[in-house]
Amino acid sequence: MHRNLIAIVFLLLSVTTYAQEKPTRYTLSGYVKDASSGEALIGANVYLKETMKGVQTNTYGFYSFTVDAGDSVTLMSSFIGYNDFAKRLLPNKDYRINIDLVNKYIETKEVVITGKKEDQNVSQPQMGKVQLDIEQIKSLPAFMGEVDVLKTIQLLPGVQSAGEGNTGFYVRGGGPDQNLILLDEAVVYNASHLFGFFSVFNSDAINNVTLIKGGMPANYGGRLASVLDISLKEGNNKEFKAEGGLGPIASRLTLQGPIQKDKSSFIISGRRTFIDLFQRPPFVKKGSNAANNTYFFYDLNTKINYHISDRDRIFLSGYFGRDVFNFKSADTGFRFRIPWGNATTSLRWNHLFSDKLFVNTSLIYSDYKFSFGAKQESMQLNIFSGVRDFNAKTDFTWFPVITHNVKFGINYIYHRFTPTSVEARQDSTEFDLGGVNHQYAHEGAVYINDEWTVSDKFSVSPGLRYSMFDFVGPFTRYVKNGDFETIDSVHYGTNEKVAFYHGIEPRISAKYSITQNASFKASFTQNYQYVHLASFTSVTLPTDVWVPSNDRVKPQDGKMYAAGYFQNFKDNMFETSVEVYYKTMKHQIEYRDGSQPDDDVKNNTDNNFVFGKGWSYGAEFFIKKAKGKLNGWIGYTLAYTNRKFPDIKNGKTFPAKYDRRHDISVVLTYNMNKKWTFGLTWVYATGNATTLPVSRYFMFGPLDLQGIVYNGLPNMTSGQIYDVYGDRNSYRMAPYHRLDISATYNRPKRKRFESSWNFSVYNVYNRMNPYFIYFNNEVDSKTGTYTIQAKQVSLFPVIPSITYNFKF
């Protein structure tokens, strides 16, 4: 059946291609760029004014489409926040037209959410795709002054925050590991700094942020829930620019400029926290707690690109970031150091085989490392974990005729996983903890996707992806008995096959236009995910471990059905949509009840997993005002997310920890004048599901018997209280809601120098949102009376912050 599907797709493609191919057509192609910096504009519209037909630029700003020979036409281009471009031309030959769009900010300082005149949201068959304007992200309130794209995407319907101040996000009932986060095509395995409060993405270095939360096209795969595709700036190829900023958490500096004007350019952007710089003499006393416990993070983005010719361009980009936490107890001499972070490198080569065939080939390196080194007296302990990928891919974009946009490609990844590995020694005794072990796997995929405009009203985008995962030795499988004790181990030699999985992932989305301004869309997506994130806690921590599919862990298997109605009003000033989805997720993992971190040691992490299924469904309502001084959006999501695991509470269905019934976001920006911009966000979410105790008991432990005589009464107050827990996630904490506001003051430009001040207030009305609940026992030893009180812990009260930014 799968084979038939492929055949049908190819047949359709070839038939329609050849049927419509006529000799009296010419190709218009080129790049769309920012006029002042030369940055590629991704997702810009290029179309003919007469027919309103056209395409969007790809990740490199490239467009191509065919026109019929005949009367002269007007080539138009438009993009978020840019002035439109128009050019008359006579289609009597192929044209290569590179378009430079002029930024509106430069002229008017008016922030526009999307300047697109077209009704992209209505006219594209793609569903659930959102492109965010980085300039708008910067004008919204920023938590502790750090502009964060991951926090902004949480304001979109269907996307939920993992928790207070957390950069982790859940898309349509999927876990945080089900989001494919790409930075210039490199997978970022842990996108957070400071235990999740800040993301690793420095907004100064970002050109474009695109989130696909449903109807994932076939060129993406390997994750069930969403794709967050972040492109770094290429570097200004016209003139040298510096920009930077100083906030309460970190300071930033970005330098960019041409190496050879219009030919090659570079960008380098760094960010670092600075609190630790004051945690040393003379600011604090040497040996004091403040000096002994330091924390910092930094990241560095670099990119260079080179235009070899009109047909070939090369990009080299890199990211390196680390968090480092040092602790030393003056009391016990116990000390540790925890560094962790990501490193990625992407080398990409764009090549134009013809005006109709664009190809990009990438070599990508991606690495996430966590380590923990502790020492006390003669005892030493080291813990490591991580993932390292070598990734090669080639992606073709083919524009055979204006009604087809075909993407196809091939991808290969060589993974090396380091599951929790522990080494410990004391003096000369080396403990038997299994040591550092790596696991190896080959992942591959081929895909083809066509965006086919069947008629003025109907367009469809079918896609097929074939993926495979080959887990190979060296590998040791610890065989457990019913008591989870190791009874045997099976060793696989180098390159010996441990497990092999593969599958066909069909994808389809379709659009039917009811009127010019209204359309109905539907999509189906099948995804396989071969890597899994194992987490002991309900929040994302750097200690979470990536685990590959193997002989015990099957690939996650997700199917999503979605439908939506889209309508724009008032000349596209208002965009509205309603989307519904139903999603099933097979082979989900959880840690077995009662598993503790040291159970992962000298063991296969997955021996502590239990497996089950999940399903989610919901509706998302969205209204956006895209034009005018006041713009923004309101999103509302109604969602249900459930899980069922045979080994958890005897297979009783329970709500996932990210089950949120209601989720509301209000996002507004107001551009008062050239100097002042105001921003506001308000969020509301149903309280998190959590597991609470329902009853309790006392235990006294072995009594102190002296012979047959009991030595002292069992002192009732010396009993220890233990809890009996209720059903998993059966308790709801109080709802979460919060208002943030911001004001940005742009100081008028003097010569080349521009600066701005951003004033943000987080949690304006000081809502004490629940982070977790615990129970406090107090005992009056005189009366032997216990009092028990539930306490709700909140993380962040009202927090004002000021950030200064400059540019020259």
């Binding site: 235990f195 416990n293 936490f325 602790f327 540790f336 925890i338 923990f372 005892m379 302990l381 003096d427 403990f431 038997d432 190791t486 309900s538 200690t543 009840d593 009662g594 503790q596 971190p597 040291d598 040691v601 959590t690 105790p693 329902v694 009853s695 008991y697 006392f698 235990m699 432990g701 072995p702 009594l703 102190d704 018997l705 047959i708 009991y710 030595n711 002292g712 009464l713 002192n715 107050t717 010396s718 809890d723 009996v724 209720g726 308790y731 109080a734 004490m768 977790f772 609940i773 615990y774 005992v779 032997g784 028990i788 009180q789 306490k791 709700q792 812990v793 909140s794 993380l795 009260p797």
Partner: protein, 294 residues
């Protein structure tokens, strides 16, 4: 101690995070569903000593607790029977003046014996359990060592040679003569030989405290430390795998109670028809006099 080091990883990370942002908390009211009461069994057989059983019931989470109501949770009307394979004894209810527990006059703990427990309650429930007395694995030596940077405070250290067979489990208790009423297990008192099988090594334990202690030295700089001048008795027990699993989870629950990081897992029990533990354990005793180095 090694285990507690690993556990400290997550603990420290979280603690610091929370401290870093100076968290705020408030009292709230929580509605919890009423649950059916369960029987809680604590049955202990120590080598050379008579078997005894404490039997109680679970309480609603917010039910008031004082010394009177607590006594009411103790079950005093059950029939408790223990057999060591040869002798079967119905345990006697102790005189209430010395506490509510059942004790045996005939079953005395002995290495190598298997014990079975049977409880018949007044509401016609039957509770059963089984345990086994393993041979004691002694410590090679025990000593006190002043902690670096401290004047007179330190930990008790010991040297252990773990037998070559996998599956040994241990529990550590200590008591300061004249200061502590009973042997107290410190946090992380149980460990097994998963990582140390057949090896010899040094390890240290800090000083435990009784729950809810308001003793001065449990609330000042001396908390967790032994002090030069103390006479310390160490009770080092060989325990069963079931006991290890029980106390490991129990201690994890009592230290990490609540929060997104605490465990909400049930404590694994070896009691059929109830919760709690029925265990035989085999201790060896050591006396250490804490001194400053000469």
């Amino acid at each position: 101690m090694k285990k507690s080091l690993i556990m400290m990883l997550i603990g420290c990370v979280l603690l610091t995070t929370v401290m870093f942002f100076s968290s705020c908390e408030k009292d709230i009211t929580v509605d919890l569903p009423t649950q059916e009461q369960k029987y809680v069994v604590e049955g202990y057989i120590e080598n050379g000593l008579p078997a005894y059983v404490l039997l109680s019931k679970t309480a609603d989470y917010f039910a008031p607790v004082d010394s009177v109501s607590l006594k009411n949770y103790m079950v005093k009307d059950a029939t408790v029977i223990i057999s060591d394979g040869t002798i079967t004894d119905t345990l006697m209810m102790a005189d209430p003046t010395i506490g509510y527990f059942y004790f045996s006059t005939n079953i005395i703990g002995q290495t190598g014996k298997t014990y079975s427990l049977k409880i018949l309650t007044s509401d016609n429930k039957t509770i059963t359990a089984e345990t086994h007395m393993l041979p004691a694995v002694p410590l090679d030596s025990v000593w006190f060592k002043i902690q670096e940077g401290k004047d007179s405070l330190g930990f008790v250290w010991a040297h252990l040679t773990d037998p070559d067979t996998l599956g040994n489990c241990y529990r550590w208790f200590a008591k300061r003569l004249g200061k502590d009423k009973s042997f107290i297990p410190p946090p992380g008192s149980v460990f097994d030989d998963r990582f140390i099988n057949g090896k010899e090594f040094n390890f240290a334990f800090n000083r435990g405290q009784v729950p809810n202690s308001n003793a001065e030295d449990d609330n000042n700089d001396e908390a967790g430390f032994f002090k030069a001048g103390d006479t310390i008795e160490v009770k080092f027990c060989t325990i069963t795998k079931e006991s290890y699993k029980f106390w490991r989870q129990a201690e994890s629950q009592s230290t990490g109670s609540g929060g997104p990081f605490g465990s909400t897992a049930e404590i694994p029990t070896n009691i059929n028809g109830g919760i709690g533990i029925f265990e035989a354990f085999n201790p060896t005793f050591y006396t250490v006099i804490a001194k400053k180095p000469d």
